[in-house]
């Protein structure tokens, strides 16, 4: 009996959400098939790759990253450089310096950095906070105001601060909002419900349902992403039809495989290779499970993942 291909058809689709403006603007989501299943139906917007730059400098970064940004002194210069990376679709600026338990940079300084970065590149911009809920809410408010009209994505509103973030970024300045939860489909859905109940349109929301570095409880991540996709497409659950973005770099560059120096672990080999391997393995796995965009740091990772996406879709 000859093989007969039966495509898995869904009547629902992931919402297509646009970030950025002008020629370089980019669209996340929009597909009506399971992740990367381009054989079941068209995937018009292939998964996107973003480059993460951190506003606290390059100290401690892997050699390959430091060499790539050699000569850059400000985040804006780094952003301009990052935009030249092969396969970079957007820039993700992480305002680590704002952390009250760290450098505790003022909101004004951070906004100035964000503005400078925005002017240095025409790629779409994602603003990431410092993981302090209160400070992040202020940052997202002021950055959204300063970058009004730039159609940025703020990453992300959490259950603890969604009210402020949704009101400012989503309603007042009409930016895109990320909703972040901790690897639990129900919590992800609840936050989307709360944000949309405030009046933010589902079409303006991109969710980050959480991730881990590959090998660090990653099966939960896969299961969560997969169930989110199945609910969105199979059950037409509109509260889970937002595209998914996954900040990979901030997870993988914090585990020992990526951090341990070559002096400490000579038998593990090159730190750059290890870090890139972790970043690529995690990124590919979340893309296969349902993510529409990944945020990476190492130029080699960006090149590898974007090449993979290009060849698959």
């Amino acid at each position: 009996m000859p093989f007969k291909k039966t495509p898995q058809k869904f009547s629902a689709a992931i919402k297509a959400v646009e970030i950025g403006t002008g020629d370089k603007k980019t669209v996340l989501g929009g597909e009506g098939v399971m992740p990367l299943y381009s054989f079941d139906g068209p995937i018009e917007n292939a998964p996107k790759v973003g480059v993460e730059i951190v506003d606290t400098g390059l100290e401690g970064e892997a050699k390959g990253i430091q060499e790539f940004y050699a000569g850059c002194t400000t985040p804006a210069e780094m952003a301009a450089k990052a935009a030249t990376m092969e396969g970079a679709d957007f820039i993700a600026l992480r305002l680590e310096s704002a952390d009250p338990n760290g450098a505790n940079a003022s909101v004004e300084d951070c906004v100035a950095t964000a503005k400078a970065v925005s002017e240095a590149t025409d790629l779409p911009l994602v603003i990431m906070g410092c993981k302090n809920n209160e400070k992040d809410a202020q940052l997202f408010d002021k950055c959204s105001e300063a970058l009004a009209g730039k159609n940025i994505l703020v990453l992300a509103a959490k259950e603890e601060n969604y009210k402020g973030v949704a009101a400012a970024a989503g309603l007042a300045y009409n930016q895109k909002i990320g909703t972040e939860s901790a690897v639990d489909i129900n919590l992800a859905k609840q936050l989307n419900v709360l944000v949309t109940q405030m009046g933010v349109k589902g079409e303006n929301v991109i969710m980050n349902p959480g991730t881990a570095a590959a090998g660090y409880g990653f099966e939960y991540v896969v299961s969560t992403l997969e169930r989110i996709r199945l609910a969105a497409l199979g059950q037409d659950d509109t509260t889970l039809q937002m595209p998914v973005i996954t900040p990979v770099a901030s997870e993988t560059w914090g585990v020992k495989e990526s951090m341990a120096s070559e002096e400490d672990m000579p038998e593990w080999g090159s730190r750059d290779d290890r870090g890139v391997d972790m970043e690529v393995a995690t990124a590919v796995a979340v893309l296969a499970a349902g993510s529409n965009a990944v945020i990476l740091r190492h130029p080699q990772s960006v090149a590898t993942v974007s090449k993979l996406v290009k060849e698959l879709i």
Partner: protein, 647 residues
């Protein structure tokens, strides 16, 4: 050594000797000073407030005590250490749980009618209301010099003549023998014997002079983790002579079963806990009922006790630790070996104590007795029986099969774990509505007209949360999202809603419900709903196939089913399917007391019930998180709520 004086509002006091550094709450427990401590001294519930009048205590200020209150001497007993002589005022609030408890199930005629209804339902299902207690009048010939038979043989011969039972098969209790001589002479050789069947023969439980007016009484008791209720019954007519309820005296050792088991494993703990339930709770209750009914406790010849697995283990002083550790094996499901005299329970020493059988570590006799009382097992249509207590238990099925499971709801349904929570005593807000425009509340309060509010009981909490949600004051996560006169935030940003300012309330502080309270309650209702959902879907059913939902428990007849559905505690089915059946554990025990067939039926139901362990179910956590949202993360499960909210 330091001297600590516990001063009570009624003027009495207890003096205790303590070493410096001793914990005040433990000291109070050692001296039987009742301080309410539902969290068992973890400083998390804030209920063990006492006031320092003289001397000093080494006690930090906690979240539960404001600076102003701290200055007035208010301390939490559980975090206080003795550092010298001191005089401590124990507030009445701590006493409220032992007395003046509203008998949640027997306060009105309509709740008494539930008992009659249960009996008639069971009769209809073919259960005969017969038991083996008899009152047999016996006439004997007077002894003479020619007839020197001893008193006991004389009685046995006469009984054989009266009943036809071989005198070799009749036995009597030692207490009966001791008094036999006087009783026979007092009655002029006319006596009445209270007997029960004993194997093929008879056992004499009591002998009374022939002309005494007597009654054969029985006792049905429900031992809840929080509340104990009981009825004294005339076994010949089935009439309820007296009723009583009280807080469970074990409560000061912890609010939930796990904390009680842990306490029972401390040195002398099993004895302490048994004493707390038996000597401090049950016996005073029985004495009160007997006094009111005008009978001696020795006229109680049969006792039926329904309680959860931990409660019946602790009552009997049985080692209970395996109940809380994997793989959760209790010492017994069913026992018929217990007599009142063995326990020291106030009743005839030979009175049989029937313990409603357990079917699992967390589904006990209260549920098997309750299952009998609900009519889940009599019908072909599918019914769900829900007992809302500190543990929530569910039974689902019909006349062909029964399934049960338990989930830990915490004490929230009974007002625990809620800062202004209280049991349904005087001053409890049992119903509430809130005006959507002005955000002003209106209450129905337990007690005499004009009673000022003191706190919230279970049904009141459901109403308040439902109304706050309906008015858009809190969001689906239970977080305050609307500002108003009655909404405020503390320095940590935690929101709260003031139900009554202290001027309007019979309390030392404002009565308010906080985000933490709401969160606790949402978890409790989430536990119940997710258990229902998992049990029903494990059979590939959905909630629309449930024809009747029987709700039992001390949460009170005041429970507003519509509001309970609004907040996602119960499935969204027609309201006419809900039936409140009161304290089904007690009404079940009452029928088991009166009827041998009912007793046997409970054994049969218990042995045929499938127990589903939720704690090892991989889907439970997921379902639970989904249910911790108002009404539910999956809004399609609650279509009528969505409609109502849209209006």
């Amino acid at each position: 050594m330091a001297i600590i004086t516990f001063q009570f509002k009624n003027g009495t006091h207890i003096t205790a000797e303590a070493v410096v550094g001793a914990n005040l709450l433990n000291l109070a427990r050692d001296y039987n000073v009742a301080i309410d401590a539902p969290c068992s001294g973890n400083a998390s519930c804030g209920k063990c407030r006492v006031q320092l009048m003289e001397g000093d205590l080494d006690s930090p200020r906690t979240l539960h005590i404001s600076e102003e209150e701290y200055a007035q001497g208010w301390r939490l007993a559980c975090v206080s250490k003795v550092c010298g002589d001191a005089k401590i005022l124990v507030p009445d609030i701590a006493f409220a749980y032992m007395s003046r408890m509203k008998v949640a199930d027997l306060s009105s005629g309509e709740e008494i009618a539930i008992f009659d209804q249960t009996v008639s339902d069971l009769k209809e299902a073919g259960i005969e209301f017969e038991n083996d207690l008899r009152l047999i009048p016996v006439t004997m010939s007077e002894p003479t010099l020619d007839d020197t038979m001893p008193d006991n043989e004389r009685l046995l011969w006469a009984l054989e003549a009266a009943t036809g039972v071989d005198d070799k098969k009749i036995s009597m209790n030692f207490q009966v023998l001791k008094n036999l001589s006087q009783v026979m002479r007092e009655g002029n050789y006319q006596v009445q014997c209270v007997t029960t069947t004993h194997g093929e023969g008879l056992r004499i439980l009591n002998v009374l002079p022939g002309d005494t007016e007597t009654k054969i009484c029985g006792l049905a008791i429900d031992i809840g983790t929080t509340t104990v209720t009981g009825v004294l019954v005339d076994m010949q007519t089935g009439k309820i002579l007296e009723k009583a309820s009280s807080g469970n005296g074990q409560i000061r050792f912890g609010a939930d079963v796990i904390n009680r088991i842990i306490e029972s494993n401390r040195p002398g703990g099993r004895k302490r806990l048994q004493k707390a339930i038996l000597e401090e709770t049950l016996n005073p209750m029985i004495a009160r009922m007997c006094k009111a009914a005008g009978i001696p406790v020795g006229w109680i010849y049969r006792v039926c006790i329904a309680g959860n697995t931990t409660m019946n283990h602790l009552l009997m002083g049985v080692y209970a630790d395996p109940v809380r550790t994997e793989p959760y094996i209790p010492t017994f499901f069913h026992t018929s070996a217990v007599k009142a005299g063995d326990l020291g329970l106030y009743a005839a020493p030979d009175a049989r104590v029937i313990v409603a059988p357990n079917i699992g570590s967390y589904v006990g006799g209260d549920i098997t007795a309750g299952t009998l009382a609900s009519s889940v097992w009599t019908k072909e249509t599918f019914s769900l029986f829900v007992d809302l207590g500190t543990n929530g238990e569910l039974v689902f099925g019909n006349s062909d099969f029964l399934m049960s499971c338990a989930c830990s709801a915490g004490p929230a349904f009974e007002g625990g774990d809620i800062s202004c929570g209280m049991r349904a005593t005087d001053g409890a807000i049992e119903a509430c509505t809130i005006d959507k425009e002005t955000m002003e509340p209106t209450f129905k309060i337990v007690g005499e007209p004009g009673q000022k509010p003191v706190g919230l009981c279970g049904s009141g909490i459901i109403d308040v949360i439902c109304e706050l949600f309906r008015c858009g004051i809190i969001n689906a996560k239970g977080i305050f999202v609307r500002e108003g006169k009655r909404v405020r935030h503390n320095i940590h940003g935690m929101g709260s809603y003031v139900l009554a300012y202290k001027e309007e309330a019979a309390s030392v502080k404002d009565i308010e419900i906080t985000e933490v309270d709401i969160d606790n309650f949402i978890r409790a209702k989430g536990a119940i709903f997710s258990a229902i959902n998992i049990m029903v879907s494990s059979l590939d059913f959905d909630v629309s196939m449930i024809d009747d939902i029987y709700v039992a428990g001390g949460i009170g007849s005041g429970i507003n089913m519509k509001n309970a559905v609004m907040i996602g505690m119960f499935p969204d089915v027609e309201l006419s399917k809900f039936h409140y059946i009161g304290n089904s554990s007690l009404s079940g025990a009452y029928t088991m007391l009166l009827s041998n067939q009912a007793e046997a039926k409970v054994q049969e139901l218990a042995s045929g019930m499938t127990y589903m362990e939720l704690s090892t179910n991989p889907f439970y956590m997921d379902e639970f998180v989904a249910a911790c949202f108002l009404p539910h993360t999956n809004a399609s499960l609650f279509p009528t709520v969505a409609e109502a909210m849209a209006e």
